[in-house]
Symmetry: C2
């Protein structure tokens, strides 16, 4: 991650990454399929956090409450595994490379569809489940962008609650 920021994503080789991490290339490939994986390996963790929060919530809760539970779980995971500084570095690398931006978009879309499936598994109608997935990911990514702003010191969970209030004010205005 440091190397990508120093040299640019394209110019950094797996050999460079392995040397910096003091492991062999063979060890590198045991953990990551390629160098893009270094940036995207957290994807599954976030998706699991969202999906588990929805699946494990008590019965009878409204969709909006489940979206909150999913976002809070995602925020907790992100803050624990990556932290704000690392998230900022990762974002700088991705925004400088179009192929990585496309990969990031695909990741967010997969996340939205995983949330949709989790809602369908709880009996939410397909259209509502799809919208819930899209809205949840839009909220998470909006709060995330605010969280990594240069001078931002507020907590991701707090920003998510503010974003939730913004969504409500839009849809009920």
């Amino acid at each position: 991650m440091e190397l990508f920021a120093e040299r640019g994503f394209e110019a950094t080789t797996v050999a460079d990454i392995a040397a910096r991490a003091r492991v062999t290339e063979r060890t590198f490939f045991r953990y990551f399929a390629d160098k893009r994986e270094v940036l995207f390996s957290g994807e599954d963790l976030l998706q699991t956090a969202f999906v588990d929060a929805i699946a494990q919530a008590p019965e009878g809760q409204p969709v909006w409450t489940l979206i909150h539970a999913a976002l809070d779980a995602g925020a907790k995971t992100l803050q624990e595994t990556r932290g704000r500084e690392q998230a900022r570095a990762r974002e700088a690398i991705i925004s400088a490379n179009e192929a990585l931006q496309e990969r990031e978009l695909l990741k967010l879309t997969r996340l939205a569809r995983a949330v949709t499936k989790a809602f369908q598994a709880r009996g939410v109608a397909p259209t509502q489940a799809r919208l819930a997935g899209d809205v949840a990911v839009a909220m998470f990514s909006t709060a995330f962008q605010r969280w990594i702003e240069p001078d931002q010191t507020r907590d991701l969970t707090e920003l998510l609650h503010e974003v939730a209030a913004d969504v409500q004010s839009i849809t009920t205005s």
Copy 2:
């Protein structure tokens, strides 16, 4: 478009497309940069419809009313320029090819950010404007997916209004 459906996107050449349309390849390239453009040339029309609807609405209207105006304008444009049968054929081609799916996602993201800019130009705060763009595109793409379902006969505008009610029921539940 017919050729893509018959032979698959990869196997269809620009020469094939030009021959079917009874034009020279040179004429083809006057209208489209490449064969992917045949599928995505409607993109600008949709974006213009959304953005103009937001920009031209009377002052003092709430964000939710402007989202409705944008979606209605987009639906009108789509139904007039493409129509349901063509939209179904296009969707079948795109969903069979991963690179085209990525392009479609990029298109939707650009559309969301164009809507965000149109809201910011009207003085809506950045976070709300971003959410409004994401929510508008999520609503449009959800209604669009329903519109092109095999047995669907209902109008896109009608489906959009139903989707809008669904979003409201999610965020106020």
